[in-house]
Symmetry: none
Subunit: 202 residues, 4 copies
DNA sequence: CATGAATGAGTCTTCATTCAT
DNA sequence: TATGAATGAAGACTCATTCAT
């Protein structure tokens, strides 16, 4: 029997691509550089992915899908909405901290992608939003959260807040100007967001 | 007068570029298409701008700079921090509503730019953040706003919320999936953000 | 038996390749598509043929070789040169009619091949020409055909006529323009060619 | 005023391409080599032609169009159909003799092109056929030529004969085998074709 | 200043062929 | 012998930018 398409190779391409996308940005990323970093030939990339877009989309969907699964299981058995939102923030932030390059890619490239790729390309992001929306909605139905706000808007803007928290973190490394004025740790940031939200939603 | 003429051309390039960037995204935008839309020759672009990057940066800085000036003057004489934040949101949103293509460009391309361009490229954005930060800081100093949150974080995450509000609005047009689930007007969105913030910050 | 099996595979590759060459042309034909059509793996092709060129050459030589053998046996015992030429035309045309895809390949790719491959690649075509030349030559020697024409030229140009007869037939399917103006059956075409030739050679 | 697209450059691209196509065949011809031969940059090619196909099509249509115009004017005032066919053969052959590389391209690549390009791509060839058909048709109407043959078939097969006459000539240079067996001059070939045709059509 | 033709570096992707299994 | 994943050379075409007019 001949060789089988290897999961390991696929994974190494995704990892290498994440690094290259983080460093140069999606558009300037070169297939050859990804291949080199993954220790394979350029052509091999195209045995696993249709094209560069497909790699980026796969990174998003697989990593965020993973995060979603983590979230869902972490939320199991937790009842308090505040605590649930806290878990969502913590889990998301810690996932990003553990893979800074993925954080950079999500922060920087996701917007572009949502606009210029199809909606299936960002299905996992929509799923992530769904999770947050459900938590808030549930809080509202149980009379814990105020009902005069739109749960979907809260979810979406919370995502924006989270993204920008990560964005400062990521930018600090490149731009001294930002580093100097906005030297804030992810934890401090999370704390502030949570405080505002906790009081703001009740 | 020569100077007059130049300003008009410069302006028409910026307008044309905004449209093209909105439609295709910065990286795929072609100088020739910008020139055509501006009714000038390609070469002329380079009499007014160093390169494509320079056009994008100019769009950001000039339009956001304008917004900043509008904000500053609108905030004149307004004392209440809640009202001031409300003015900031309203002005920003109405500026974007009046120039949807600019909204698309800001929403989609700003992130990329902040990362891969220098910090002067986004000086006006930093200035915008400064304005928000000051309002919150001022509210804290006057004992109106709680002091256990970081004003800079609030400002930055508020920007994230605002961006994502615009993002849904912009995305709705491209992705039916989003349109269907997140059919929210900018005004409704703003209302929710304000409510959470108002209670959350006190 | 192993040998038997091999011949079957070899044959199925030639058949599949003929179809693919007919559809896309030799240069754009993909080995993978040939393999798929032949229900084998790509690699297997290279156990039977040196390369893509080799497949095309084999198609030519084997099919035209077959035609040559058919011709030779059909000409056995026929004495009249006119009748012999008629047999050559009929047999050739009917062979092509029975394998339209091969007709397309011969018509379209033979020229290229004759130029860019070696002369052994087209040895069977040269043999085919030889057969025609001999018939004419023989007619001349027996005083039936005029002697003031060059038998080799007549053979070669007769081949050109035959090719173009097939060419109209093949083109008609792709180009409506041709179909419309040159809607001629192979039989009608053959009739005209024969009439001119019969009188022209005496 | 800026530079104008130059007819000279366009022409030099066509000339260079003809040479390269003759040498390597259309599919293996490299844009860079054409550019080098034409003393221009690769990109310049694409200011004048949409793509490689477009170059080949232009070569065909412009050169054969030219030939058609020459033929039409040469046929002016000539009454005798035999003489007219003779003129067509002579003019075509002499045009090819004067531009051997074009002859190679026509002989080798035209077939491919007729099949895989659109019919406008070969409009000039169809026009050439039209000219021949008209001559024969006219001969038939005037009772000089026999009426029991299809003028269109005669035209098309005559084209095949002409092509193969050129083909031997072209092949002789590459394949010693052919050179050895078919060492026939264009003029001798023409003579034979004309003799057969002249008697065959009356 | 305006023009737009010329430039040529740059890169994704294809696909025939190889070779380890 | 059959397989099909891996390979990597190869090349058409793009497009931002320049500069002669």
């Amino acid at each position: 029997m001949a060789k089988q398409k290897s999961v390991a190779i696929r994974e190494s391409i995704l990892e290498a691509a994440t690094k290259v996308f983080a460093k140069t940005g999606f558009y300037k990323a070169k297939a050859l550089e990804i291949a080199n970093k993954a220790n394979i030939a350029v052509g091999t990339i195209y045995n696993y992915f249709k094209n560069k877009d497909d790699i980026l989309i796969s990174i998003f969907n697989e990593r965020i899908g993973e995060l979603n699964r983590t979230l869902i299981s972490a939320l199991q058995g937790v009842d308090d909405p505040d605590q649930r939102l806290s878990i969502i923030l913590s889990s998301s932030i810690s996932a990003m901290k553990n893979d800074r390059e993925f954080a950079e890619v999500v922060t920087i490239e996701l917007r572009q992608s949502s606009k210029f790729f199809s909606s299936t390309a960002i299905s996992s992001v929509l799923e992530f939003l769904e999770i947050i929306t459900d938590v808030i909605h549930d809080g509202q139905k149980r009379g814990i959260y105020r009902s005069d706000v739109d749960a979907r808007v809260v979810a979406w803007t919370l995502l924006g807040s989270l993204e920008n928290l990560l964005h400062i973190w990521v930018l600090s490394d490149r731009l001294p100007e930002v580093k100097h004025r906005y030297d804030i740790s992810l934890e401090e940031g999370k704390e502030t967001v949570e405080r505002v939200l906790r009081r703001g939603l009740h």
